[in-house]
């Protein structure tokens, strides 16, 4: 009879997980490319942000470490402060609120729509997202011009809304382009919900709103948090759309931080200062990410 008593075990564990060197073989090409054109630039940027490097002139070769000079310059820079606010408005308004709420709404509505509506509307929304950004910029430029479709719809033919409310227009254009992303994420999340739970709630006679608030929303929390995280970091660095529509104007009315970085670095040739501003952008992104990851942890 092999009735075994617990025995004291001696010696090292034999099943410690071992790193297989062959893993490195397939990882290396990707790591090399990321190292050269991602990690190195990030580190280099962190250094450049504390220098007075310029694109042209003597400072382009003969630059030096200037410590916190760029930071103090930022604090006194009225454009930078304004630009930071615009970025926050853009990300919170267009991405976090607009894109996520509309994306969730469409995803929920599509579940209950008849098949032709679902297919057609779903495809149109996604095509808007697949279009090259420059095309989106163009069609929205046309849409909001004086004499454009929007001005006719609103009854003020001569109003150029891209000049009147530029931040609103670029935010809506960005929302228009990116809603599909959130919609896809939420649709996938909704598809993965356990149907029994939803049916149970339905059988219990919960109203649509109660079902949504008490059943769907809590179950979707991980998906929502992930969506918010991705949407925030992707939109923080939005450049092309705004640049092609307004180039930051009129004045500096749509000069979000990515545009300001570009202007400082490549128009005013202040590479060091421009990079310092981009570091602030990364910092904002990191803060948002931490908040969301925290939120994801707390739910468990």
């Amino acid at each position: 009879m092999l009735r075994v008593e617990a025995t004291a075990v001696r010696g090292p564990r034999l099943d410690r997980e071992r790193f297989q060197w062959s893993s490195l073989v397939t990882l290396t090409p990707a790591l090399a490319l990321l190292g050269l054109l991602f990690v190195f630039p990030v580190l280099y940027a962190t250094y450049l942000g504390f220098t007075n490097l310029a694109l042209v002139g003597s400072r382009s070769r003969d630059y030096s470490f200037t410590g916190l000079e760029n930071v103090t310059r930022m604090l006194g820079d009225y454009v930078f402060v304004k630009s930071s606010w615009l970025t926050l408005i853009f990300v919170v308004g267009s991405a976090i609120i607009g894109q996520s709420v509309l994306g969730m709404a469409i995803a929920l509505l599509l579940r209950r729509a008849v098949v032709p509506v679902r297919l057609v509307v779903g495809s149109i929304v996604i095509v808007a997202w697949v279009l090259p950004e420059i095309t989106v910029a163009l069609v929205w430029y046309a849409f909001s011009q004086a004499g454009g479709t929007l001005s006719i719809l609103l009854g003020h033919r001569d109003a150029n809304y891209l000049v009147l409310v530029p931040m609103l227009i670029v935010s809506v254009a960005n929302l228009w382009r990116n809603v599909a992303f959130s919609m896809l994420v939420f649709s996938a999340g909704l598809r993965n919900l356990p149907t029994e739970v939803l049916e149970a709630a339905e059988v219990e006679g919960a109203s649509v709103w109660r079902r949504y608030r008490l059943v769907i929303l809590p179950l979707m929390r991980p998906t929502i948090v992930t969506n918010l995280l991705l949407v925030t970091i992707l939109n923080l660095s939005e450049f092309t759309l705004i640049y092609a529509m307004t180039q930051g104007g009129p004045g500096i009315e749509t000069m979000t931080l990515p545009l300001y970085v570009y202007q400082e670095a490549f128009v005013f040739h202040q590479l060091g200062y421009g990079t310092a501003i981009s570091l602030v952008l990364v910092l904002i992104g990191a803060v948002f990410s931490l908040l969301f990851v925290r939120a994801a942890r707390n739910q468990a």
Binding site: T26, L34, Y243
Partner: protein, 291 residues
């Protein structure tokens, strides 16, 4: 006689299932969706109408049909060369990104790698790093290496910037291949290379396609990176060409602009439609950042 009658319920007793009334809620749902669809369609529609209008302006209007805009655009050397450049840039980027992502994703999905979780989170974060931050040091680096003004070196940076997300996508696809199949193959005597080639790869073809097409769509529309790194006038890609066009004579040639944008948008729309069946599966991020 009676047996037959017993076999069928009398009509009077038959339970009649009524046609489901079209509920107001369902009606409202569909109407709201159609309105939303209209909001998304309207701006695009301008592009379509203006492209065949002999006298377009900024508003959507019924076109006076003409193909002059098309012949105009296709007749210029710039448009064709822009297509060629975009194809080279997006194609090179896609090949590099996809191959490297597949190779990297396999060990990240299956093997034991120290600090893998941290690495994957860093990758996710990296995919959101602003290009604005990287563009200055990369520009410096390209000046130093003499890599400026080439589509291929530009593609290299584009590939690097799209690689994190591609690896992440690809890892999720490989994760979805049942690990038991690999175990079965290993017990069957297959080497790692054979398992990868004959079991994992065939089963992740949809995933590889989605990754490739996603990368291609992004690279096809990329603006800033080629705008900054490649200023060779003969090699301008589509988005830069359209941007220049808008700046120089956009106000006069709406039609040409619309045609150019339309033609340039078609490849990615077609690509998306071809792959749409697999796309929805790629966006299952539930719990991706769970603690």
């Amino acid at each position: 006689m009676s047996a037959v009658a017993a076999g069928k319920p009398a009509p009077a007793n038959r339970v009649v299932v009524p046609y489901r009334r079209v509920s107001t809620a369902a009606l409202i749902t569909n109407i709201v969706l159609v309105l939303i669809g209209g909001f998304f369609l309207l701006p695009m529609l301008w592009m379509v109408f203006a492209s065949v209008d002999s006298n377009p302006d900024w508003a959507i209007k019924l076109p006076t049909l003409t193909l002059a805009n098309f012949t105009d655009v296709l007749g210029t050397a710039g448009a064709l060369s822009a297509f060629r450049s975009s194809l080279i840039l997006a194609g090179t980027t896609t090949v590099i990104t996809t191959v490297l992502a597949v190779l990297a994703a396999y060990p990240l999905s299956r093997r034991h790698i120290p600090f893998k979780r941290t690495f994957m989170l860093a990758i996710l974060f990296a995919s959101g790093l602003p290009v604005a931050m990287l563009i200055v040091p990369v520009y410096q680096l390209y000046v130093y290496l003499g890599w400026l003004d080439s589509l291929y070196t530009t593609a290299l940076f584009l590939a690097a910037s799209s690689l994190p997300f591609a690896i992440w996508l690809m890892k999720n696809f490989i994760d979805a291949v049942p690990v038991e199949l690999e175990h079965a193959a290993a017990i069957d005597g297959a080497s790692t290379f054979r398992i990868l080639r004959q079991v994992v790869l065939p089963l992740t073809i949809p995933g590889v396609s989605v990754t490739a097409i996603y990368t291609f769509i992004n690279a096809w529309g990329a603006f800033v990176i080629p705008f900054v790194l490649n200023s060779n006038p003969d090699d301008q890609v589509g988005p830069v060409e359209i941007y220049n066009f808008m700046g120089s004579h956009g106000l006069f040639k709406f039609g040409d602009l619309a045609v150019f944008s339309l033609l340039f948008s078609l490849p990615v729309i077609v690509l998306y439609l071809v792959m749409s069946r697999y796309f929805s599966g790629a966006f299952n991020f539930s719990g991706a950042v769970r603690g």
